[in-house]
Symmetry: C2
Subunit: 208 residues, 2 copies
C-alpha cells in the first residue's frame, strides 16, 4: 500500500503546486478581494470544490502564495556579499532585481499589492524577519562606506531606492509601456534600463 499512498502524496504535491501557480497569476492581477476562487480554479483546470479540498479557505491559498513568493523575492538580497566589491555587489543586485521584474512581474505585483493595502497578512514578517535582514545589509553598506569604498550615503534610503526603482518596472509595467511603447517592445529593453539606472545610481546626474 505504500506505492499507492506515495502516488496520492505526489498528486497532492502536483495539484498544490498547480493551484499556487494559478493563484499567483490571479491574485497578482486582481488583488485579494478582487480575485475569486472560481478564477483560480478555472486557471488551475479543476473544479472549485476540488481546489477547496487542497486549500479549505481562500486565505490559505493567498498566504501560502505570498510566503512562497517572499522567499524567492528576497533571495538575491540575502546574497549580497559583505566580502565582495561594494559597487559590483550592488550592481549585481540591481541587475538581478530588474531581471526578476522583467521575468516575473507577478511576484512583485503580488507583494506590492499586499504592502499597498497595509500588509494585513505579513505585518509581523516585515517587522521581524525583513527588518532584521535589512538592518544586517544596511550594516554591510555602512561598513563599506566607512572603508571608503562607497560614497557616504544613507544605507536604508539607498536600499529603498534600489527596491523602488527596480520594482517600478514590474509594478508600474502598464505605465512604462504606455510611455515607452516602442522601447518596451524591444528585446533589450531591460538591459538598457539597467544601464540607465546604474549610470544614475553610480554617478548621479550632476554634470562633471
Amino acid at each position: 500500500m505504500t506505492g499507492n499512498s506515495n502516488k496520492q502524496t505526489r498528486i497532492q504535491g502536483i495539484n498544490r503546486s498547480i493551484i499556487l501557480d494559478a493563484a499567483l497569476e490571479v491574485f497578482s492581477a486582481y488583488g485579494f478581494r478582487g480575485s475569486t476562487i472560481d478564477q483560480i480554479a478555472e486557471k488551475a483546470g479543476m473544479s472549485k470544490p476540488n481546489l477547496l479540498y487542497y486549500f479549505p479557505r481562500k486565505d490559505d491559498i493567498y498566504v501560502t502564495v505570498l510566503e512562497k513568493t517572499l522567499e524567492d523575492w528576497l533571495a538575491p538580497f540575502k546574497d549580497i556579499d559583505p566580502a565582495g566589491d561594494p559597487v559590483e555587489e550592488l550592481r549585481k543586485y540591481t541587475i538581478q532585481k530588474l531581471k526578476m521584474s522583467a521575468q516575473q512581474p507577478e511576484r512583485s505585483q503580488l507583494f506590492a499589492n499586499e504592502i499597498l493595502h497595509g500588509a494585513p497578512s505579513i505585518q509581523k514578517f516585515l517587522k521581524s524577519n525583513l527588518k532584521r535582514l535589512v538592518d544586517e545589509k544596511a550594516g554591510v553598506i555602512a561598513d563599506w562606506i566607512a572603508a571608503g569604498k562607497l560614497a557616504p550615503v544613507d544605507p536604508y534610503h539607498l536600499i529603498f531606492m534600489i527596491w523602488a526603482t527596480t520594482q517600478h518596472y514590474a509594478d508600474f509595467d502598464v505605465q512604462v509601456r504606455a510611455i515607452l511603447p516602442e522601447e518596451t517592445a524591444k528585446a533589450d529593453f531591460f538591459d538598457k534600463a539597467a544601464d540607465s539606472i546604474l549610470t544614475i545610481l553610480l554617478n548621479g546626474i550632476m554634470p562633471r
Copy 2:
C-alpha cells in the same frame, strides 16, 4: 427661487466633496474591488441610498476620485521649468513629490493600485495625456544634457527613478515604517529622506 436653487446646488457640491474625500480614503486603502459603497457611505456619514443619489454607480465615484487625484498629482511635474536651473528644478520636483507622499499618501496609493492592476480606468489617459507630458519633459531634460548642464543619462529612466523613489514612501509606507520604526516617528523623517535621496541622485554612490 434663485436663492433656493443656489442653496441646493451648494448642498450638492458639499456632499459630493464629502463623498469624494471618503471615497479617496476607502479606495486607496482597499482598492476598487476591496472597497464597498457601505464603507464609503459610513465614512461620509450618510446612507448608502443617499450616496447613490449623488453617484449612481460605484464606478462613477471611483473614476471621479481618480481623475481629480491625477490632476493634483501631476501638477508639480508640469511645473518643471525648462528655463530654470536643471539641478535645482529636479531637486525642487523631488522634494515636492516626497512632500506629497508624506502628506497625502492616499493619492499615491490610489494611483498605484490602479496602475498595479492594469489601469483599467485610465489606460487611455496614460497613452495620450501622460505620454505627451512625459515626452515633453524628457525633451527638456535632453536639452539640459545637450547643454552640458546635466550628466548624460536617459531622461525617461531618470523620470521613472524619481517617480518610483518618491512614491515608494507613500505606497510602501507600512514597509518603510516596519523597517525604520524610530526614524519614521520623527518629525523630520521626510526631510532626511529627501536629503539622502538627493545626495544619491545628484552624486551617485561611487566613492570620489
